[in-house]
Symmetry: C2
Subunit: 198 residues, 2 copies
């Protein structure tokens, strides 16, 4: 029903997360109305990502060189390491523009049920970064799930013999959400972690 080249493009769009058959067809069809130059530019952008994007040798962030834009920026505060699960979490926090330190990407979370232990994620590299530099605080920003909590507890434990402040970002009720839509675990945590207002 589709010309074979269009069929291939639809199949490629379907590989993207959250893109089903109908959306893939709609997106591929919309490209038929693109200028030929725009199609060239789109294809080249994919090839450039294929050829140029790698990972920062220090923190694991995505990067076009050996060092990412954050690790190579001498204006950053190298005494604070912000620990995240994935490179895209860095983008999320960088957009806020409030954090001035550096990052460390774990590339996963400890999950015994999935056979992922501390050695399967970037914990030893975090430890060696800390041992070889003057880090004063490690901020853990992993998602508040069983895997996230397990990983944060593990990192806290292996850092316990060092003179380093280990913190984790707050869990609680998000701003602007009706209380009735919040799950009960979050509500319980919000009560447990209540703050003194005096």
């Amino acid at each position: 029903m589709f010309p074979s080249s269009l069929k291939k493009l639809i199949d490629n769009f379907r590989m993207l997360p959250g893109i089903g058959g109908k959306t893939a067809e709609r997106l591929a069809f919309s490209m038929l109305e693109f200028d030929k130059n725009n199609l060239t530019s789109f294809a080249n952008a994919i090839l450039e990502v294929r050829d140029h994007i790698g990972h920062c040798k220090v923190c694991g962030n995505i990067s076009e060189g050996d060092l990412c834009s954050i690790c190579s920026n001498s204006d950053r505060d190298f005494s604070t390491i912000f620990v995240v699960e994935r490179p895209k979490d860095i983008i999320l926090f960088e957009k806020l523009g409030v954090y001035k330190g550096i990052y460390h990407v774990l590339n996963g979370l400890i999950s015994p049920l999935d056979g992922i232990g501390p050695d399967e994620i970037e914990i030893s590299s975090l430890l060696s970064r800390i041992n070889n530099s003057d880090v004063q605080e490690v901020i853990l920003a992993l998602k508040p799930s069983i895997e996230g909590e397990t990983t944060m507890q593990y990192i806290k434990k292996i850092l316990s013999d060092k003179n380093i402040k280990v913190t984790k970002i707050a869990t609680g009720v998000p701003i602007g959400t009706d209380m009735e839509y919040i799950d009960s675990l979050t509500l319980e945590l919000a009560i447990d972690e209540r703050k003194n207002m005096n």
Copy 2:
């Protein structure tokens, strides 16, 4: 914040209809986890569409050759022409698998307010196809809007002196929808076009 090649890919995704900034970022990021071969295949699919997809010289359907797969299929019934607005409408109707005739793509609808008259869309080519062949029925399948109705009335008029049956697909209440969600114009039409059940 993004490496420049990733930024370019995000910008390209944003050119797609219905893809906003956040979705473009999510899609581009997901491609960082693709196998390099899959990235090559995606880029090549775009380039193949750029280089191979054109329009059928007869009906205006998308095609990799001079004639589309429908116009070049001798099993189709060449005495019936199904008139649609866009090539993607053909896919929609072909998926049903019930229509066995051929198509004609208008590439637009008459819309005086937008400065689109009969000469701006593929009406004269429809007329010359009809004059040069043995067409017995023209089925109009344009959307039931002011522009669609205007275009259908116009085509009906220019074909009135020919011995050709001109039909249009039915408007009415869609199956499986609660009556209360149907707009009043559709309900009025459904009454006007009621069918005798005897």
